[in-house]
Amino acid sequence: MPNDYLLSLPILAAAGWSVLLIILEAMLSRAALTRVFAMLGFALVGGLSVIGFPLQGLAFSEMLRIGGFQHFANIIFCLSGLLVVALSEKYLDDENVHYGEYYIVAFISVVGMMLLAAAANMAILFIGLEMMSIALYVLAGLMRRDVRSNEAAMKYFLLGAFASGLLLYGISLIYGATGELALHKIAIAIQTGSASMLFWIGFGLLITGFLFKISAVPFHQWTPDVYDGSPTPAAAFMSTGAKAAAFSALIVVVTNFSTLLQNSPTWSLVISSIALATMVVGNIAALAQENLKRMLAYSSVAHAGYMLVGIAAATPDGYSGIMFYTLVYTLMNIGAFGVVALLESKENLLLASDYAGLFKHRPMLAGAMAVFMLSLAGVPPLGGFIGKYKVFAAAVDAKLTWLALAGVLASAVSAYYYLRVVYFMFMRDPVGEAISAPATSSLAFALIAVAVVLLGVFPTEILRITDAALKFAQLPTQTGF
């Protein structure tokens, strides 16, 4: 029994810490203090995941599956949470919504993400998804006096609840078809018998629920409105942490049924076409956006498409590529959203043309933003390139060359709207007065940018970790624990 607790220590610690945060907020009611403790909590949980990296096994009567994959995912979630919390104080202060609850809700959302990645049972899958999503609905509607924030929360909630309903229906159909809730037992039941029609319908609904969360086409329509209306740091959180969590859950589910899915041409075709549609629609819609927040929202749709290419490849290489991609994406996208938040809260600058001449006034900030934009576009020496390369290479290995080719073309198109921002920052003369920003935040963005560059120049270590991390997730039926 103690093994269970040791295995799932990061999750238990995160759950306990969220209770602690609530006690703290109830007793002292100081947002700044809650913020510091939330950051400490993220660091603690991330640290526990690093220490416990080699541990693996099933915990709590096969409810949780813990392994390198889960630890790696936990680190991504904690990183996302830490960065978002670190960057959001100024924005919230300026919008006059600096509540301590913001940090509590974000923290509990991360607990939900960790559950999603660690789910070995569909009950946990659902609880994790709900925990993450409910927290995100609250974050989206945090600016209660702002009509657009209300609209964002309402849209996200209604569509999200619908997606959760689909997912739950899928779970119940799968249970009806196999009589099991544990994912690995379902896989065994499918292998011994055969996948019935009922199972496939349920599986489709389950996957649809996740596709909604990662905003894949045709379930992406909520994305621009929600990201636009939410507090910008919360949008950064949704586009990185939540997306990484939904992808981890998708990988967990898909690896459990890998033998079944690898022999199914329909599955490959469906996921490939969704990936293709997501890349095309996301990039083309992003081209037309003037508002940077909406542009980043559509770009997040496009990036979900690139990551889906890895799922379509259905090989360990593809999944490992997705893990690396989510890590890089977390860094660069939080960086980009963070810069937008910084300039938005100060002077309400949201258009690409507002960034004209940023380099003259704030070279460090402009440089960091340029790194984020180039990395999002997938320019070679940066982290975003390696992520795309890994995913597309996996697709080529899986004989999906056309999909990889489409991905490359789509990222070529995406270069236009990313480079446009860079062009405005560096090539245009400033209009109006200088944009001011505190030097400390510029330094923080510079650090994130350095991390993105380092991930691009020295990716091998991380890639070795992601490859190793997947080994356990790959073998679902080996339950000798």
């Binding site: 209770v19 609530i22 006690i23 109830a26 009611s29």
Partner: protein
């Protein structure tokens, strides 16, 4: 046992069982008969009774105040927060009910498990309490300040004073 006429959804192992109802089915049948009985009473009385309405009879209170306006009244939001918190604890109760039925069999471990569950939720209640959400917000009417002396002009507001609302208790 799950067998529905007309639908081909049928279980593999157990074919159609006989139509015997369980104990709960009897309760349900009882409920149904109750509903039918009441409905039948209403319907027959509406068929038999004389029907001669006039204005006075149709008014909301036949002998009393004349109602004005509609019955739509905007509720205060304070009910809402209380109702929200109530629902959350209602759900908690549902988890505790099955616990109570097996509590004796499983023993002290069950007690610890339930205590953990309840105490986590109790923290939620404490949070709501500490944040003042259980306080009954009394509406504070915005009365204009009258000058204290009869012939004084009302005091001019200082410009620098920020108009911040007083922190709630």
């Amino acid at each position: 046992m799950i067998y529905i006429n007309g639908l081909n959804i049928e279980t593999k192992t157990t074919s159609r069982m006989d139509a015997q109802l369980t104990e709960f089915g009897k309760v349900f049948l009882f409920l149904l008969v109750g509903v039918v009985f009441v409905a039948a009473g209403f319907i027959t009385s509406s068929l038999i009774r004389p029907h001669r309405p006039y204005d006075e009879k149709l008014s909301t209170y036949e002998c009393g105040e004349e109602p004005k306006g509609t019955a739509w009244v905007q509720f205060n939001i304070r009910f809402y927060v209380i109702a929200l918190i109530f629902i959350i604890f209602d759900v908690e109760l549902l988890f505790l009910f099955p616990w109570a039925t097996v509590f004796k069999k499983i023993g002290p471990v069950a007690l610890i498990e339930a205590v953990v569950f309840i105490s986590i939720l109790a923290i939620g209640l404490a949070y709501a309490w500490a944040k003042g959400d259980l306080n009954w917000v009394v509406p504070q009417p915005n009365r204009p300040k009258l000058p204290e002396k009869k012939f004084d002009k009302p005091a001019k507001k200082k410009v620098a004073e920020p108009a911040e609302p007083a922190p709630t208790a």
